[in-house]
Subunit: 340 residues, 4 copies
């Protein structure tokens, strides 16, 4: 098999997570999340987040979680402010608009991060009641390009949102890598206090599927289950989600996996940079972006799975390597050796 | 543990299905259904349905499948005709209306079946362009109350639909039990030819989750994947669905499980009727409905898991027992013994 | 010309209303309702309703007003309870469902009126979070069949709604006739206090178009204008609506027209009943429903415009006569003479 | 009164149009557009457009027409390509997204015009089925900034759309000025052949309200009336729309008004440019955009009604003057005199 650096959703569950699913398989559990695993997993997550009153609900995938959560949090006439490159805007086939909401895209830099300065002019324009009302800011941590928000940045952004009657929602598809990155200075409880809602992404970090949505302010959570069901997002065999997230939370497996993926990415990055490869953006997490000459692609295709990200110029392409919980040092060193 | 007859989604996957998931867990597969399992499972399903040109797509749960499929098949101004008791109408928190479509409910009998005679008056009224346009008929097989459509019934209904420019969609959450019922005279290929679209329900018959949607007429399938993604219904690790459905289809495991559940239900029904219990409706599949005096409920609660279905009268309740692939003769006989 | 009893929207504006439009035509007014007529008309309506804090907004037609108002007042997962025969359910081509909401129809009697007793069982069932949440009760006054709510009935219904966390919305397409009916014992301020929102229907009582939506509780009105604009319901030349409603309110023209239409209807009803015609329902307002033998229809078609309402039995039809502000005694007596 | 150059929707109907409404007011006409005026107006418009098979339907305002038409023409998963500055994107409070569709904005130049070159890269990216499918191109003629499409430009654009399976929709809010502009070389029939659908805007050119939607390809029009009704866009007293459009079409009143407005704008533009005023963009139609020093605004406010368009820089603002059918030479010369 080729070295696999294509993405972080090409392998199934971490063995401990899989074991938990297998163990519960024939027990007999009530459906729709009304089971002991789900109840315990919610408690553990609340505890780890330092949010005893938060609502925790399990959903199935990232697009679904973004769409259900953001459309739940907004009034019909409110829009979501989103980085132009944000997943909600660019990669979900209009799933959010399908719920009737407009996205107000904001051009952001290569780090993919949104700031009060980028939002303020848009708020000014949208005071006009003949325009849609901005109601929520969507960010991701890690961002689409792999960067992370610092405590100072998120503190400023959240304060700005609160002052301006905007909710702050964080897509945490890669939260495990974000909060264990060398660039990160946020604990999970600190992070949870600096957003109104976020999700702990399982799919890209150790589960077969499943995301844990956390709405930290209880006053925002009324009737969420009905909304979730209305969006077709309630699993009949919900205990599977609960069992997986319990396994993820045990011994901090979730964050250990995130840190491991980051370490493998850093090792690969160092190796490639040492070989003279050119970074497209600096990423302190598990996604690496390099600018390569187009003629290198044929060779790369033989050696490894990776992703064509975008055109850089006529003769160069941006490619992405992604590491995950089961990437090994041997994989990294093997790829580096093959490329030398 | 109490005897478990509550529903058919309280146990996980059949062991062979689970094995298939475990075996593929660390292989490395492309995401979003672009993998060898999914490709093979689609081929096998098309073959078993005798529809070489059908579209097969995997979705996650029943509500999602109903909603994505029906809203895909209809124009925005078209409505779905649905039995009043149909899942789409009564049990999905307005998930279908959330896509902008009206449901035109039709009162049906205790068998839950829809007929041309029940639809015709509604079509007459809705010729008026100031009313919504009926575009699709939603049925379930087995129905909500456990009955099945005969070949003659479905042939008449489908002919009527084609004549009246209505699509026919069948919710197959319990298709495995329907097509193996003693009352059934339809093969899978015959069934597939008598509807425009249907799904093979995995969740209630042997998978952890997952339904296989089949649209039998290729001219109706254009761009389905984009619609599926827009509805948040594409799994990143789609090979899990593929692997489960491949295992289901092998050696006809899917229909063997359905037949087994029916046999266990028949055994339980015979035992209870012999004891003098009163049936609410006749069901030839894996759901049984009995009218019991309210004072029996406390005792029943101690012995087994079952479901309170609805009030029958001041002093009686309708309850439901459900069997599934892992119900054993010992379970049935044990429950009967405990109730004697 | 034939005698015209077809409906109450076949003639344009009352001459005084038309004069007001003509007078303002070339003045130059700011657009989007930001003009002196609209401001004054809102004030006058608030005053006449005895609701100094109410929100008043002008919309264009009945379906639009029902849909914009009810979808504004509900959360996305909430449903509207509606008489089976209610306009929102039966006559709007799914316009309300198009905003993503389910309707929970309630079978009502021939008077078209909804009561706490009819709603209570539905609330009981819908406590289940796997079902949609009832959020609002839609009534019309006068009802589809021409009857009106008494003070006692509306007081009970509204109290029941408040206790059960349901909003009460009244479709007032024919409010002018309702509140001037002999069966009515409600003043406009009393009526306004017994609902959360309603509209004063202009289209069927003296304007070219236009309905005045009143939301009586200010805490429910935030951001309404944005919702209205999002629904394509803001007129550029909004002063036309303002000028028409100012004219309607002056000297109680609106209610004078309603009373006149009722008087003409009563005269016609008495005449027909005296001739032995059979009433289908008793209506104290401007719509009359009679059961006629089918063979009478050809003759009736020659004499007058009326509406075929529904089939009564194999040999009889229900027909509707409607009077309006410009129906004269001569029209009524002429029709009666022609029918003798 | 101040000189009025604020916009083209601050005066009511042209006297001949108003007369037509007044004349029909008490005639008695069937509702919902089923009347002789509407029938004739549709015929006349089809004839003037040279499209005997086109569908013509009357709607009420611009936002409504854009939204109803574009959502009717698209499948749910398809998006509309729209100039960033287009009305559909920027000025409709998410009304289009409220129907579930994404907008793909394209950055255009100061002329507001879209070209194949601007669309092509977007089509390339959106071949990916994980992204929304572009289904329609929205343009306006005249554009938001007052420019018009030439025959060569529109011919190229439409050919490109047809090749790429995109529909072309033209917002004709200001079509009267566009097709009578000195920069225009398109006749109405030529224009109609180079788009799939467009509307003849009444509100901004001589009616009280009302737009005539023309879908030129009959195969695209099935069931439009039901969609229109579902969107709350059917007027009960539809003959008013018919009568107004008949009056507009008689003796080419519509285009005479457009040409007049253009001439008044040209006179004003020449006068101001001669006085040294700085144009922001060149506009050959009835909207003029000038860059003025901020300190001029107070004086301008005293003299005339105009519109603040956007900030130009710290010390300058872009303002808009608009002429319409009732702008006189005296108005223009009076404003110029006052500004000297």
């Amino acid at each position: 098999m080729k070295f696999w650096f294509k993405n972080d959703y090409s392998f199934g569950a971490h063995p401990k997570v899989l074991d938990a699913v297998v163990a519960a398989n024939m027990e007999g559990n009530w459906g729709y999340g009304d089971d002991k695993y789900t109840a315990r997993a919610k408690d553990v997550i609340r505890e780890k987040c330092g949010c005893p009153d938060a609502m925790v609900e399990f959903l199935i995938g990232g697009t679904q979680t973004n769409v259900v959560a953001c459309s739940f949090l907004l009034k019909p006439w409110e829009a979501a402010i989103c980085p132009h490159s944000g997943h909600l805007n660019g990669h979900e086939v209009g799933a959010f608009e399908a719920t009737g909401h407009k996205i107000l895209p904001v051009e952001v830099g290569a780090d993919g991060k949104i700031t009060p300065e980028l939002i303020a002019p848009l708020l000014e324009v949208h005071k006009d009641v003949h325009l849609t009302k901005p109601g929520l800011v969507y960010i991701s941590n890690a961002t689409e390009n792999g960067d992370v928000y610092t405590k100072a940045e998120l503190t400023r952004l959240y304060a700005f949102c609160r002052e301006n009657d905007l909710l702050l929602f964080a897509d945490g598809a890669r939260l495990g890598c974000a909060l264990t990155s060398d660039s990160n200075d946020l604990t999970l409880p600190e992070f949870a206090k600096l957003v109104d809602a976020f999700y702990i992404g399982g799919t890209k970090n150790g589960t077969m599927f499943g995301e844990a949505l956390v709405i930290t302010r209880p006053e925002l959570t009324k009737d969420f289950f009905r909304m979730k069901k209305r969006m077709g997002a309630v699993m009949e065999k919900g205990w599977i989600q609960g069992a997986m997230f319990l396994a993820l939370m045990e011994d901090d497996l979730y964050f250990k996996m995130g840190r491991h993926a980051n370490e493998m990415a850093a090792r690969l990055q160092k190796g490639l940079v040492d070989m003279g490869w050119k970074l497209w953006v600096e990423s302190p997490t598990n996604q690496l972006f390099f600018v390569i000459p187009n003629e290198l692609k044929a060779k790369l295709d033989e050696i490894c799975e990776y992703e064509d990200w975008c055109m850089y110029d006529e003769t160069h392409t941006v490619i992405r390597f992604v590491t995950c919980f089961n990437t090994t040092e041997a994989d990294v060193d093997g790829l580096l050796a093959a490329l030398r």
